[in-house]
């Protein structure tokens, strides 16, 4: 393999592993910029920093008031159109509100919901998954049955019904989306614990009389932590997507608070005359989900390259 290469492997200072495939050798000769891009999830970091900044500092960044409807400016075009102005960079919606400002304010909805949902479902899912994997037997049966059940129930429709009954609110959204998400954690954590529970150090801990609580906290939890972190990041994307779908269908955060999904739905009737109303919130959703997915992929490779096969 190495005969064809100009620089012999043993002379290349960047290679410490004795056997490296030919295709990998070229990577060591990349420029500094490319090396950074290979090493760090640059795109994710950029997108997610923008998201966090927009979410936290919306009040100060947004050029206009997101709630103020100036009817004169109604449906004004974005800046690059011949009749657009710098006042409304991404145009104005059907009620005369600035689209860019609404997108910036909408970031906080996505942020709050994804943080809340992931912390709730990761906690519940991890705990139940660990219990199911460690105790097995009827505990396992019950947990896994509930997981299967959650998957076969059309939660979207139930969520919409609940929104009609109880009125849509942030709390309801978090509850419903957490119900959607915890089975993912439970499944993965259970599979991991099934592997860990017969490991020597766990068996020895058990033999020396450690209580289940201690085994959970000291021996199993550190083992599944990586999986939980990776899964959390990967699931944020789908939580944000589900939230936007519910918002689009009118079961999201109640108006006038801007949420990206409901902005797309508002712009739906104006696709032909003012496509910018629906286009940019959609791009915001897309970019955010992409950012979290890339970060999740990167974390997975970083923590456990073996998992790459799941891809």
């Amino acid at each position: 393999m190495t005969q064809n290469n100009q620089v012999p492997v043993w002379e290349d200072p960047n290679i410490s592993v004795p056997i490296v495939p030919f295709s990998e050798l070229r990577r060591t000769r990349l420029s500094a910029v490319k090396q950074t891009i290979r090493k760090w999830p640059v795109l994710s970091i950029v997108i997610l920093s923008l998201l966090v900044i927009a979410g936290v500092f919306a009040k100060w960044i947004a050029p206009q008031d997101p709630y103020e409807a100036v009817l004169v400016d109604r449906l004004n075009s974005p800046v690059w159109y011949p009749d657009g102005s710098m006042k409304h960079i991404l145009g104005v919606d059907h009620l005369g509100r600035d689209v860019l400002s609404r997108i910036i304010h909408g970031a906080s909805v996505s942020l709050i919901i994804s943080l809340a949902v992931i912390s709730v479902s990761a906690t519940v899912g991890t705990f139940l998954g660990m219990a199911a994997g460690y105790f097995g037997g009827w505990v396992d049966d019950i947990v896994m049955r509930i997981v299967e059940l959650m998957i076969s129930i059309p939660l979207l429709l139930i969520a919409m019904m609940a929104a009609v009954v109880y009125g849509s609110s942030l709390t309801l959204l978090v509850v419903v989306l957490s119900l959607f998400s915890w089975p993912g954690f439970a499944r993965q954590v259970r599979a991991e614990v099934l592997r860990l529970r017969t490991a020597d150090y766990v068996l020895i801990a058990k033999m020396t009389g450690a209580s289940p609580t201690r085994i959970f906290a000291k021996h199993l939890f550190p083992g599944v932590l990586n999986t939980v972190i990776v899964l959390s990041t990967l699931l944020v994307g789908s939580v944000i997507l589900s939230e936007s779908i519910l918002s689009f269908l009118g079961a999201g955060v109640p108006p006038p608070r801007p949420a990206w999904g409901s902005m797309v739905s508002e712009g739906r009737d104006f696709v032909t005359i003012a496509p910018w109303i629906m286009m940019f919130p959609g791009i915001a959703i897309f970019a955010t989900v992409l950012g979290f997915n890339f970060l999740g992929d990167w974390l997975r490779d970083y923590f456990d390259p073996r998992l790459r096969q799941i891809d």
Binding site: S152, I153, L156, I158, I245, R268, V289
Partner: protein, 297 residues
């Protein structure tokens, strides 16, 4: 089997519970200036004086026999409306499934077999984008591009085959991305296995190795995930039908929910769950037939 029944029961309890959580069902049917007498007569007729559990059982009993009551606004049996909408949804679902398989399977196989090639690259892009695109936005963008700008395809509503293209792509995209990933990783696993190596060593041609030995086994993995993809379809149908004003079950459910039409939404949600549960069961059976290693419990 028992699990199927159990799931359905739970869904009916959820629906019934939610319907009662919003208050007396008479509020929906009668206006403010009805007399106490009429109010009581209606209550008696609807069996509201009996305990809640009895009311639930009566409602369930009727539902099992296919009597879901009358729609509040359309003034005709819910079952009739549902039946009328099924073909549109099946057509859309079938087209989307075909699209997803047509994109997902060949690209998945290609990107596994020619790892690192341009196909692998395209596959990655499709998979990444498919998972991050909001389906409703994709639908609107397709409309904007192909119907409004280029005027190649008609705008929304059900009609000939040309009406089917955009909704099918919108609904099928996510599934295509999922299938692609699953097929790719399954193919990679199988291509690395001993029996494929043996087939290669025997001198079986590349084509036969891929299609006869590897592909058939690799296809089992996506099958086990078919339930997840199907329930994704259910969500997707609701969104897609809303975007394209497609006269299917999803649209019916959304309109029923938004207009407070309880019997109708109950029917739509139950039918949706029923489809998933039955599909789940069918897939279990199908995988036993395809793969004799799986034993049916």
């Amino acid at each position: 089997m028992t699990f199927m029944v159990f799931t359905m029961l739970l869904v009916t309890i959820l629906i019934f519970g939610l319907s009662r959580a919003r208050g007396d069902p008479r509020l929906m049917l009668l206006d403010d200036n009805t007399t106490q007498e009429t109010w009581d007569t209606w209550g008696e007729q609807m069996g509201l004086d009996r305990p809640l559990i009895v009311q639930y059982l009566v409602w369930l009993g009727k539902a099992v026999q296919g009597d879901l009551g009358k729609s509040l606004w359309e003034k005709r049996p819910v079952t009739e409306s549902l039946m009328q909408r099924i073909p549109a949804t099946l057509q859309l679902g079938g087209a989307a499934w075909a699209f997803a398989m047509l994109i997902g399977v060949p690209l998945g196989v290609l990107s596994a077999v020619k790892r690192g090639s341009i196909w692998d690259y395209i596959g990655r892009v499709v998979a990444t984008f498919g998972q991050a695109l909001p389906p409703f936005w994709l639908g609107l963008m397709l409309i904007l591009f192909f119907s409004v700008q280029l005027e190649w395809l008609p705008l929304g509503r059900r009609g000939g085959l040309d009406h089917l293209i955009l909704p099918a792509i919108t609904l099928g995209w996510l599934a295509a991305a999922g299938i692609l990933r699953l097929v790719r990783s399954a193919m990679l696993d199988v291509l690395d296995s001993e029996y494929v190596k043996l087939a290669r060593a025997k001198g079986v041609s590349q084509r036969n190795v891929i299609w006869k030995h590897a592909f058939r086994n690799a296809m089992l993995v996506p099958m086990t995930y078919a339930v997840l993809i199907l329930s994704g379809f259910l969500t997707g149908t609701v969104v897609t039908e809303t975007v394209f004003s497609w006269p299917g079950l999803g649209r019916l459910a959304v309109v029923a929910i938004q207009s407070n039409d309880f019997p109708m939404m109950a029917g739509a949600v139950m039918l949706g769950t029923g489809l998933i549960v039955v599909a789940n069961f069918a897939i279990d059976i199908a995988s036993v037939i395809v793969d004799p290693r799986i034993k049916f419990e």
